[in-house]
Every structure is written in structure tokens, then in C-alpha cells.
């Protein structure tokens, strides 16, 4: 019997060997917990800084952002070549959507993206304190660099709020709190005024010396927030706050009550209920602050260069892209086997017609000598940098933008539906056989915008004067428009120009200077002029080459789309449907 027990013990031992214990971690050391991201022993702050990088990455890159299209294809400047009822930008453009149509990230629904950015910024702000970063601020050798980082995060958070406010009006302000699943997230919207005040006060708090100073100190710091970016954000926020859409809002009355849930909105949420012209003055002086820094200037290497050369003197703040040619592969003319493209963006004739002649005169001005049989001759040089027209050189070829030509083969493959392709943002591939890589950053603030922001606000606040008038001349001069014998670049003289005429000139200058830069979509709205433009036919060119060229201008949006469809509710985007039904405190925007 004893012998048997021995055998059993032996076998039991053998069995238990299978599971015999060595020490293993109870939580995987490969999983990184917060104390390793914000590491109290890391004097370099490597991981914390990497976390900040991801807050930066939340900024959206506008290149082909909206379902593969530029947001500007939702304005009168362009249509999508993929225009169909499921094409997001076309839905945006033609009011073919409701609060539930666009999922997170689709259409222009940036709600979730920016609240995610705000969360990440708050995590950074809440935790960076424990990291003993040794590097110091360039201007304050005794102060840790982490305070600059923290201010960068605060800037980004303020910028995210601005991106939300310009689309939705007042949104819930979360402060510094990092919310958890168990917290009550049924938060109400703050008023528009609260939001503007919050963003401006954040900018004021961080604008001083405890952040990097423009221009960029080093190659490595290129792209990071500087005091100039902070001031630019403030100027832009105040410009929006002063604009007619928000300054004395009538949206609740104009847009009426929508079909969705919780569709009564307080006016104070979507704007200032009472107008105050002084807001223009605030905007003008905020823009003036950026100009007064004296470290920026217009890129004199030309209009195209702004988007291709990093760290040129015009750039105030950018969203970094890459070194490549995605812009070309997405939007370039089709028909090149060695340089394949989708040609998704079809700029409209409406946009083409907005460019003046080289003299700065409108194409309808008889003194401009516009020739309908050679419509691109002697035009504002920005035109051919913005769109491709027939015969323009590209990829060692003269582009064939006529029906049946190389780039408009009508084979069923996607091609332009306007007769033009986008050219803006593209590199110098005119004399190459395939695309060359170039810098593809997305410009958020550039000096030209500060100038035009200033001119607009100043003109609204006090009317035409030497300062705001000069801005237009400067911009046109850089663009390559001839100064003319009067030196006015085709603009009516300062002595005779009215406030309204200067406003129109500034509005049109913004349109052509900032085409495809995600300005016009919002400008049309904040100026409350959208119906005048959005309800027009989008025209395109049907060029027939039959020995000679025949220019036919035709409506290009398929007949299935409603054109005269701009309704007041579209001045603001709808709060995503789910946010309203899930949050009993959440008010929908008027009309949605």
C-alpha cells in the first residue's frame, strides 16, 4: 500500500508540475499605464510630449477632408466629380441631409473629433504637472518647458472650441475636467457669448512669453503653437463673433422649429441676441495685434509657393501634412497612366468668373477687355494656380479639357464634371512625367488672412480708410495684378469707394485668395449671404473641340439635385442626432 502512495505522490507531482508556478506579472507590463506617459522621473518628458503630439493630430487636415472632397465643393466654388446622392459634400451643398445623416467624421460632422481633442488636451493639462521637464523656455531660462507645452494644449483646446462654435454656435464647455464613464455627461450647451469669452480668455491667458515665439526658433519646432498663432486665433474668433450671423442673431426666428427632438433653441446659444457694432472694433484691433508683431509678410515667391514651401514668412499656423502628392492623386486631371488621379474636385465656372482680369477689373467691366473666345488670357494669375484650364501645361502635356480629350474621355471613369480640375496646392509637375512629392501642409492661419480679417473688420467698424484700403492693394500686388496707372490695382479709388463697395471687394478677394482653404463655406454663412450664391446654378464648361474651340456653359449638378435650396437652418450645422436624443439637456439648432 505504501508503495502505491509513493507512486501516486510521484504522479500528482508530475501533474502539478504542469502548472507549477513561477512569478508572472499580474498586469501586463507591456500595457502602458498613465504613470509611464506622464512619468515623474522623466526629465526629458518624452512620452508626455508624444501625448501632446496626438493632441495636435486632432486638428483636421482639410485636404479632401469631407468624404474625399474639399469642403469648398459644398459652396458655389466647386462640385464633387462624384456628385451623387450618397456623396457627402454634395449632400452638404444641396441641403440633402438631416441631423442623423452624417456619422462621426462624415460630412462636416466634427463634433466627436473635436470633443476627443478637448479630452486629450484636458488629460495633458491635468497630468503634465508631475513631469519634471528639464528643458526651459527660451525666454525664461529658469522655467520648465512644460509650461509652454501646457499652453500649447490650452491653445489647441481653444482652437477646437472655435471649430465647434463656428459650426454649431454655443456648445458645452467642459473646463479642465476629464470626464469618466460614470460621470454625468448630460450637459447643456453654453451660450455663444460664454464660448467666445472662454476662447478669448484662454488666448489672453497664454499669449504672453510662456509659449514659443514666432517666427519658429528651430527646424524641430516648426508647426508648433506660437504666440502669433494665439493672437491669430483670437482675431479670428472675434471676427466671427462680430459677423452678422452671430452679432444680433435672428436665426431662431429665421430658421423656425425643426422636425427633430428638442428643437427649441435659446437665441443666446446661437449668437448674441443683440447686435453690438463695437465687436468689429475688437476684431480689427485683435487682427492688428498680429500684424503689429512684425514677423510675418506675404510670400513674395508667389501665390503657389505659400502651400509648397514650409516656414515661408506668410504662415502663422499650419496643420502638418506630409511630403507627398496626395493632392494630385486625388484631384489632378485624369488620363495619365503614369500619374493616376481620381479628379474628384470640379471647380465651377462661378469661381472662374470671380477672378478679375490682370488689370484687377472684373471680367464684366468693358475696360477689362475680357475675350470670351480666349477666356483665360490676361486674367488674375491666381486663376491658373487655382484651377486647370484647357491647354495649360501639366505632366509634359497640354491638358485636353475638351469633350473626348485625354482628361475628359467620357469612359465611365470618374472625371471632372465642370470642365476644370483643381490646381491649387499642387506641386511643380508641369514639366515632369509623374507627380513630384512636395510639402502638403494644411494652412490654418496665414498672414494674408490676418490682413483681410483686419480690412474687413476695420471697414465694418469705421468704413474705408487708408489702412483697410491698403490691405487690398497689398494682396492684389502680391497676386500679380498690375498696379495700373492709378496704382489702385483695379479697385475704385479710396476717395470714392463706399463702405459697401469695399465690403464687396473684400468679400470677393477672400473668395479667390482663399479658394479651397475652407473659408468660403463659413464666410458665406457668417456674412448671411449664402442664399444669394448657393441658390445659383453651378455652371461648368463644356468645351467642344471641333477644329476650333466652342465654349458652352452649362449647369453641371445633375438635375436630381435641388439648387435653390439654401434654407436658414443651414447657417449652422445640426447637432448630431444621437447627441440630442441621448442627452436631455442638449438643444438642437434652429430648424433642424
Amino acid at each position: 500500500m505504501m508503495k502505491n502512495y509513493k507512486i501516486i505522490l510521484l504522479l500528482v507531482g508530475a501533474v502539478s508540475l504542469v502548472t507549477a508556478c513561477k512569478k508572472y506579472e499580474t498586469f501586463p507590463i507591456a500595457q502602458i499605464t498613465i504613470d509611464r506617459v506622464f512619468d515623474p522621473r522623466d526629465s526629458l518628458g518624452t512620452n508626455a510630449y508624444a501625448f501632446l503630439e496626438n493632441v495636435y493630430a486632432t486638428m483636421l487636415n482639410g485636404h479632401n477632408r469631407v468624404g474625399g472632397d474639399y469642403l469648398d465643393a459644398a459652396t458655389d466654388d466647386a462640385v464633387s466629380s462624384a456628385a451623387s446622392s450618397s456623396n457627402q459634400v454634395t449632400q452638404l451643398s444641396t441641403d440633402a441631409y438631416n441631423s442623423g445623416t452624417f456619422a462621426d467624421g462624415a460630412g462636416d460632422n466634427v463634433w466627436a473629433n473635436y470633443y476627443s481633442g478637448i479630452r486629450q488636451a484636458n488629460i495633458f493639462i491635468a497630468n503634465i504637472g508631475v513631469v519634471p521637464v528639464e528643458a526651459t523656455l527660451p525666454k525664461h531660462p529658469g522655467i520648465s518647458m512644460k509650461y509652454a507645452w501646457k499652453n500649447e494644449a490650452r491653445f489647441l483646446r481653444a482652437y477646437f472650441y472655435f471649430e465647434l462654435v463656428k459650426r454649431y454656435g454655443g456648445v458645452p464647455l467642459l473646463g479642465d475636467k476629464v470626464y469618466n464613464v460614470t460621470d454625468n455627461l448630460a450637459l447643456p450647451r453654453n451660450t455663444f457669448s460664454d464660448c467666445i469669452n472662454y476662447i478669448v480668455s484662454e488666448c489672453n491667458a497664454i499669449k504672453g512669453d510662456s509659449i514659443l515665439q514666432a517666427p519658429y526658433a528651430s527646424t524641430a519646432n516648426y508647426g508648433r503653437v506660437t504666440n502669433a498663432a494665439v493672437l491669430a486665433l483670437k482675431a479670428k474668433v472675434l471676427l466671427y463673433a462680430a459677423s452678422p450671423l452671430f452679432n444680433g442673431t435672428t436665426l431662431v426666428k429665421d430658421a423656425g422649429t425643426g422636425q427633430g427632438p428638442r428643437n427649441t433653441t435659446n437665441a443666446a446659444i446661437v449668437g448674441y441676441p443683440s447686435a453690438d457694432p463695437n465687436r468689429w472694433q475688437l476684431a480689427a484691433s485683435a487682427a492688428q495685434d498680429v500684424i503689429n508683431l512684425g514677423v510675418f509678410s506675404l510670400d513674395q515667391n508667389g501665390f503657389q509657393d505659400i502651400f509648397l514651401t514650409q516656414n515661408n514668412p506668410e504662415l502663422i499656423f499650419i496643420r502638418q501634412g506630409d511630403n507627398g502628392y496626395n493632392v494630385e492623386s486625388n484631384n489632378g486631371p485624369i488620363g495619365f497612366p503614369s500619374a493616376v488621379s481620381k479628379g474628384v474636385t470640379s471647380p465651377t465656372q462661378n469661381l472662374v468668373n470671380a477672378f478679375p482680369m490682370i488689370s484687377g477689373l472684373n471680367i464684366n467691366d468693358p475696360n477689362g477687355h475680357y475675350n470670351p473666345d480666349s477666356p483665360y488670357a490676361r486674367r488674375d494669375p491666381r486663376l491658373l494656380y487655382t484651377v486647370f484650364v484647357n491647354g495649360q501645361q501639366w505632366l509634359n502635356t497640354n491638358l485636353q479639357l475638351y469633350q473626348g480629350g485625354q482628361s475628359i474621355p467620357n469612359s465611365g471613369v470618374q472625371q471632372t464634371i465642370s470642365g476644370y480640375y483643381l490646381h491649387k496646392f499642387m506641386g511643380h509637375s508641369e514639366a515632369l512625367n509623374s507627380y513630384a512629392a512636395h510639402s502638403e501642409d494644411w494652412v490654418i492661419f496665414r498672414y494674408a488672412e490676418m490682413l483681410l480679417d483686419y480690412a474687413e473688420a476695420e471697414n465694418e467698424a469705421v468704413g474705408p480708410n487708408a489702412a483697410d484700403y491698403q490691405v487690398l492693394k497689398t494682396i492684389r500686388g502680391r497676386a500679380g495684378i498690375a498696379a495700373g496707372s492709378d496704382g489702385n490695382y483695379g479697385i475704385q479709388s479710396l476717395s470714392s469707394i463706399t463702405q459697401d463697395s469695399l465690403r464687396s471687394a473684400i468679400h470677393n478677394e477672400r473668395r479667390i485668395e482663399f479658394a479651397f482653404e475652407e473659408q468660403r463655406f463659413f464666410d458665406l454663412r457668417r456674412w448671411k449671404v449664402a442664399p444669394a450664391y448657393m441658390d445659383q446654378q453651378r455652371l461648368g464648361l463644356q468645351l467642344i473641340s471641333n477644329g476650333q474651340l466652342t465654349y458652352n456653359y452649362v449647369p453641371i449638378l445633375p438635375a436630381i439635385f435641388k439648387i435653390n435650396s439654401f434654407t436658414p437652418k443651414q447657417y449652422l450645422q445640426p447637432i448630431p442626432y444621437g447627441e440630442v436624443v441621448k442627452n436631455p439637456q442638449m438643444q438642437q439648432n434652429p430648424g433642424w
Partner: protein
Amino acid sequence: MLILAKSSYAAIQKDTTAKKATNPPGLITGKVVDEDNRALKGVKIVINGRGDSSKTDLAGHFSVSAKTGDKLEFTYPNHYVNDVTINNAADTLSVRLLDHYLKSPETIDVLYGTINKANELGSISTIYNNQITTTPGPTYIYALPGQLAGLYTQQTSGFTSAQNVAILQHFLTSTEVNYAPAHNIIPSDNTEFTLTSRGQFVTTVIDGIQQNIAAIDPSSIESISILKDALSTILLGINSSKPVLLITTKKPDLGDPRITFTTEAGVQQSLGLPNDPLPAYQWAYLYNEALQNDGKPAFYTNADIEAYRNHSDPYGHPDVNWSKLLLKSYSPLITDKLNVSGGTETARYYVSLGYLDQGGIFNEAPGLDYSTNNNISRYTLNSNISVDVTKNLNVDLQMYGRVQQMFEPGSGYASILTNIFTTPNNAYPVYNPDGSFGGSSTISNFTNNLLSQAQYSGYTQTNIKDVLVNLDLNYKLNNVTQGLSFKAKGNLAIESQVYITRNQQNNAYGYAIVDSAVKLSPVGTTTPLTNVFATELSARYSFAQAALNYDRQFGKNRFGGQLLYDTKSSVVSYDLASVTTDKALKVNYGYDDKYLFEGAINNSSYNRYTPGHQSGWFYAAGLGWQMGKEDFMKNIKWIDSWKWRLTYGKTGDNSNAGYYTYKQTFTSGGGYPQGLNYGSGSGYEEVTPIADPSLSWANADKLDFGTDISLLHDHLQIEADYYHEKYYNLVTTRGATIELLGTAYPQENIGINLYKGGELTLTYKNNIDNFNYFITGNGSLVSSKVLYFDEQPQKYPWNAHTGLPVTAIYGYKNIGFYSVEDVAKHAATIAGYSAQPGDLKYADLNGDGVIDQYDQTAIGGLKPLVFYGGTIGFNYKGLSFSVILQGVFNRQVSVDNSYDAPFQGLGSLGTGASGQAYANAVGRWTPETASTATLPRLSIVQDEANGNNVQMSSFYVKSGDYFRVKNAELGYELPLRWAKSLRLSGIRVFVNGENLFTVAGYRGYPGYDPEVNTVGAYPIQRVINAGLTVKL
């Protein structure tokens, strides 16, 4: 075969009457053997149907009083009845009894033990060896469809996937589709079948250990059971919610060595491949029509279409049937098996060796000295040695090994099959005039020649090796107290999968005539051959179990119990060990074999939950009543037994535990291009979804009520079950996910689903003299309902998912095609779209004139799923026949709309409009065929009409019902005398087949298979197989 069969009748008769006249007068003597030619003890012999009978002794000998002309009937449990008429009273008889196809042994296997079937309370269906071996296939799972009540099978692929063998076993009751994380995978070599029971995925337990090895030689499997109720699975504790598929392999047998060798060879033929692509001219014609519908000029001229039709210009106007060119009609399947078993009182052994070679469906290039076709070759070894070390101690050692090598084309078979599906016949010529590979960038970018992908892209080779060792120890402790025993089990398994990829891409050249000269321009790229060696998976599993068992009868009282501890650990690749531990007690009591009770409680834990909250209690209990043994039933002669049983339990499921998700972690990823050189962009971000520190296991309350009835002298058996199972604490994402949180919500224990239904099995077996016949059928019903998942408030009641079946499909309700009048009236359309006649028309449920998300509703999958199976067969003097039928109804599937939307498919960079079209495209809507059209008007993808027509709608919800002749076998066990003359114990020849015949509720186009409805799936195979079994 027929000739063999005919001659056999006479032969078997002769065989049972042997030659020597040595019988004493008035007595008939002889010997009864089994199909392995070994003596059978206890065979009952009845003479001329009279009551008096005799039995064989230990050596199989018998002697009965009978005379010439008398009929002796030999019966033995689980064997066919054999009637022998005495021709010559002087002869000694030699009688062989063959194993019955359907067995019903007195004891059945349950989790961690065996139990007398009469005392069993759970809901268990079982099949035995003969039912498993008639189906040819690379794994035993091929034999399951239609055979087990309650087990639902769907075959979604016809070939083991070579590399993506690691699968995440998720829980069907969740309404959310699980994403497959990098962690927490359970590798399985079953990538062809989805197995569910009562709506849940099943856990596989092989010889008492949870493991996922499907490549077990079916002939070495003794039985396969499905354990469906809570009491039967409760010993799995935190993983007891899923039904258990219990596999028991053959155990060593006493006696002389039995050597069985089986060799089989079969041909496979693809089902589920679309075999009717449109010829090029028809395709071009319809493409023009689609362009015209989109308001665009035609692309192909009449001359083009004519050239496609008459094949006069094979380079400029090709017409290539890619499927015919690249795929074989038949491919081989070869299996060889060798089993050896035997032993003495103290030591017994069972060894099984298997070899499998399964060929794939791709043609190979002549002249290559390596294989590019799909192929598996596999060797398996399974050995089991059982030694009685002392009178009380038994040691059982089992070893399993597998070496498997698989090939597939370098481009990957799924990608090639998808491309075959989507490439039009006229896309490009196979070769250009100069012999280069054809390609095209005309209508889309076909940059990678299909022939080159299939035959000249190199290959991927995957090597899988498994070793599994299993040690069992049984010690009887009768000297401590009668009926007590101790059992210990240890298991260690290792698995490794590595692959070698040698693939390449050859450039393709577009053909054009420029200035009447051939111009070839490159359209693709050339990638040089790679030579990659990598480990896909390396895993180690261990399991240890110790149990004290007690079983003793005191008069009419029977007491039993089991005290159990076990721990299971899996270490897969770089994951930390996943450890499950059970401490369980199971007790049972029976009074007079009439009143039965069984109860179990299990404290079970899983190490990936928050420390301190890793273990929970799970319990189950059952009651049984042998009503047939009550006095009031005893007089009813035609009722043999009648048992009622009821079980209830609270079970658990840890499948959705995730990988240490209770603590928030961060990952380096994302990042931001930094500085002027876009350098260093490393980033850190929160892992999403964020942590849920309170995440716990899901639970289920399961009730099962069943009855087992045996009637008509045990010829007719009925088993019926009703179940009601409420799953709660299901891990799912809450509905009120407010995005102000700024990140993804974690899954929380909030869902509640209800499953109910029933199963019924009817079996009848009998014989008319030597004609033994049987029929068994089973039917199962599963109905489900989502009771709660914190759904977001819906605007309209028809938008809601709560209260509907888990299987519901959502989308727009299709109400035909837009007519000319509809368009004139501006019938409701998708916002911004004005429909054209022939577009799909959707019901505007809220009547607001716009089709949007408020008009989406449940459009299918609402009826309870019913599936059934049946087996019919007979055996007449060694000639056997069986056929397995299988079917489903109330099943609805949403078919991939690229089946039904011509020209969908490949396109470069999302611009293309160049997909293949099949014969069903001819049924498209045109003004002339408006009343008979079966598809909407043609359009090019990305264009406006397809945007409307490819919306998820009831148009794409099709019947998934089908009926299959799943398997049939015709076999003949040659007469013993013939075998003996070859010095063998037995010879059997057979032909069998799989997936022989199918009737489907929906046939989209010839070749559509109701079980497979994804593009790129390896088609399931019809197999015709013939083989020979020799017993030494």
C-alpha cells in the same frame, strides 16, 4: 458495386454455415464474432422466434437445441440482428454481428465523467463512430451537419484558411459585432464551419479538456455529444454559458491486436462559385446601357461589341472566362488511416495514424517545379496507453501530434477569388502578343494580371505543429470507503504555426493600337520575390484537474458526488497566460432509480478581471422522474421507459473579458509629423475604448425541460426538450453614448437577451429478418429577443431594435421599382435624389417624403430559426446504406449586393465602374421589361442611381432556406470467409459523398450556395469518395 452486392447475398449465407459436421445430435453449436472477428460474449440466440433462448459464453461459443430448417436469431446490443436458417444440422455455425449504425449504450459521456443514461438529467444529443465516418472531409466537423439535435452548422468556406487560423470566439448574444483585438485570440483549425447551439457559439471539449483541434481522424472518435443545458456545462463555471461539444476519442480495448487500415480517395467539385459571367459582348452592351442610364455617351461602339462577339480581335477585344481559365473542375482528396488497438488485462493501447492530402481549386502553370495551388498535407498521430499499475491504480497516457503543411498562391487565394469574381471578361487579354501579361487602364486599372496572380505570384507555405500530452490517473479508494475514488488529470499542449512567403508581382501591360502599331504600356508595378519567414502563432496550453468521486448504492438510495478542482492556462503568442480556475462540488441522489436529483455549485474565476472581482458562483440543479418505472405504467406493454427531466442553472461567460481592460492604458500610436522634415511623429494616446473597471462576466439563467421516451420494445425512441434561456449582464456598449466624453465608451455588462425554443429527436430502428433498417430525424427551433441593450431613444417605434430577434436585419423596406408615374408624382426618395424609373423604391414609413434613417426598420431575420436533419439507412447482410439530410428554414440572409448590382467591384482608387456582371444582370429593369424585371436599372457605381440602389434594403434580403443531401454512403462488408481466405479479419469497401444535392430557397444565379454568401470565400466542395477498409 452492383455485381459485388448481388453475389454477396449468396456468399453470406454460405459463410454462416460452416463445413465440419461435428455437432452432437439435436444440438447446434457455433461461435459468434464481431466485425473485428473477435468473440462476442452474451449474444442472445432465439430459435424460431420462440421465447426460449440461449447466450454465448466468454469465447463466443454457443450450443442450442435446434434442427435443420430452424431459424436462429442472434441479437446483441448495438449490433445488427442476424438471422440464420440452419441448412445442415451437422454444421457448426460461424456467425458475425456487425456494429449498428445507431448506437445507444447504457452509459454516456458527460463533462468529466460518464453516467448511466437512465440517470441523466441534462439535454444531450450524441452520435457515435459509425455516424461520423461516412462523411469525407479534412476534419470531423464535416460530419456534424444535420446529425445532432440543437447543433446549428453553417459552412462558410471549403478550405482551411492557411494563416488566419487564429480566431476570436465571440459571443453571439451580443448585439454588437466584436472587433478582433490583437490580444485574446483562441486559435482553432476549424475555419470552415460556424457551430452554434441555442443561439450561442459552442465550446469544444475533447477528452475532458477544452481545446480546439478539429483535425482528429473521425475513425478514432468514439462519440460526439452536444451538451445544451446548464447542469451539463456548469463544471465549466465562468465559461459555462456556451453549450459544449463533447468529443470522446476511442479508448484502448482488451484483446488481440486489432489493426484497421482505411484508404480513401475522392474528388472535390466546387459549389458556390458563380459560373455564368456575361460574355464580353453582352457585358459591353449592358455597360453602354448603364452609361446611357446615367446620361452619358456610350463607351463601346457597335464595332467593339461585334468584335467581342466574334472573337476576331483577341488582344484588343478579349473575352476571357477567368473562372474557367484559372479554376479546376475537380481536385483530389486523399486520406489514409491506420488504427491499432489491443492489450492485456494490465496494459492496453490504441494508436491511430492519419494522413490527409487535400488539393485546391487553382490551376498551376506547367513547367514550374513548385506548387502554387492550395494544398494541405497533414500527418496526425493519436496514441493512448492505459496501464493498471496496481489493482486500484490506473494510469492512462494519451499523446496527440500533428504536422501540417499548407500552401496557397502568393497573392492569397481569397484575393484571387475576389478578383475572379469582379473582373469582367473583356478587362484585358491574358497575354499580349509578345507574351507579356495583359492588363488595362481603360475602363479601370487592372494592374495585376489575374493569371499572373494565380500562377506566377509565388506561394505561401504554412507549417503547423502540435503536440499534446494527456496524463490521467485513477485511484480507487475503496479501502478508505466503498465507492470513493480519486482522479487526476494533467494536460500540456503546444502549438506552433509558422509561414514562409515567397511572393511577387509581375507587371502587366496595356494593349493599344497607336498609328496601326501595337503599343504596350506598363500599367502596374513589378515587385521582386519576397522571402519572409515569420511565426504566426506559438501557443502553450495546460490543464490540471483533481477530483474526488463517490458513488455508492445503499439499498434503494444511490448517492454520488464529485469534488473537483481544476485550472486551465493558455499562453498564446505574446499574451500573458489566460487562467481559468474552478472549484466545484457536484452531488446526485437517486431513490429506487425513479426519483433523481443532481445539483452542482462552482466557484470559478478568471484572471483578466479586476483583482478582487475575479471569481463568482455558478450553480445548477436538476430533477428527474422515471415515470415509466411507476406501477401505473408497468402494465402498458408498448411503453418501455418514460423519463421526465428538468434542469435550471445560472451560468457564466467570460468571452468578452478583453485583455486586462480594467485599467486605462495608453498606446504609442498616431503622432504628428514634426518639424520641417516631418520627422519623429511618435504619439501616445488613450487606448480606446476606455477602461471599464467594473467589467465582469455575463450570466445566463437557463431552464430546460425534457422527456425521453422509449416505445415499442425500444424500437422507437423520442427525445424532446424545451428551453428558456435568459442571458443578462451581456457585455455591450450602452446606447446613451454621449460624445462629450471625447472617446469611445467601453462595453459594459448591460445587455439582456432571451432565447427559447426546443428540440425533438425521433428514432426508429427495426429489422425484417436480416434487413436491418433505421430512420432518425431531429428538428430544432431557436427564437431570440433582444430585451435590453440601453438603446438610444428612437424617433419612431419601427426604428427600435429592442424587442426584436437578435438575428434581425435592418434597412429600408423595398417596395418594387419606381415607375414612370412614381417619378412624375415625386414619390419619396433619398434626400437630394430624384429617382428614375427602374430604381429601387423604398417605403416612406414616416410619410415625410424623404427616405432617411427614420424609414429604416427590421426587414428580415424575424422568424425563429428552424433547422432539421435526418438519417435513413439499412444494412442487409453486410450491405449498408445511409443518407444524411439536412435543412434550414426561416433563415434569411442579406446577400452581398455586389451579387445583384452589376459593374460593382474593382476600381482603381475607388473610381472604377468596371466590375463583372453575371447572367442575372440580364434581368435588369428596362422600360420594356418594367413588369418582369428582377434587378433595378443598370448604372455605374459611384453614380447617382447606384447610390440609391445599393442601400441596404429588403431587396437584398433573400431566403436562406435550403435542404441538402449532406452525405450518403453505400458500403459492403465482405463475407468473413472471403476475408479469412486473405488472412484478414474483415474487408469493407464503400463509396460516399458529401454535399450531394441542394435545394435552395434563393438562387441568385447558377452556382450560388446558400451557406456561403461572401465574395472571395473559398467555395464549399461536393465530394465523391471511395475507399477500402482492411482489418488484420
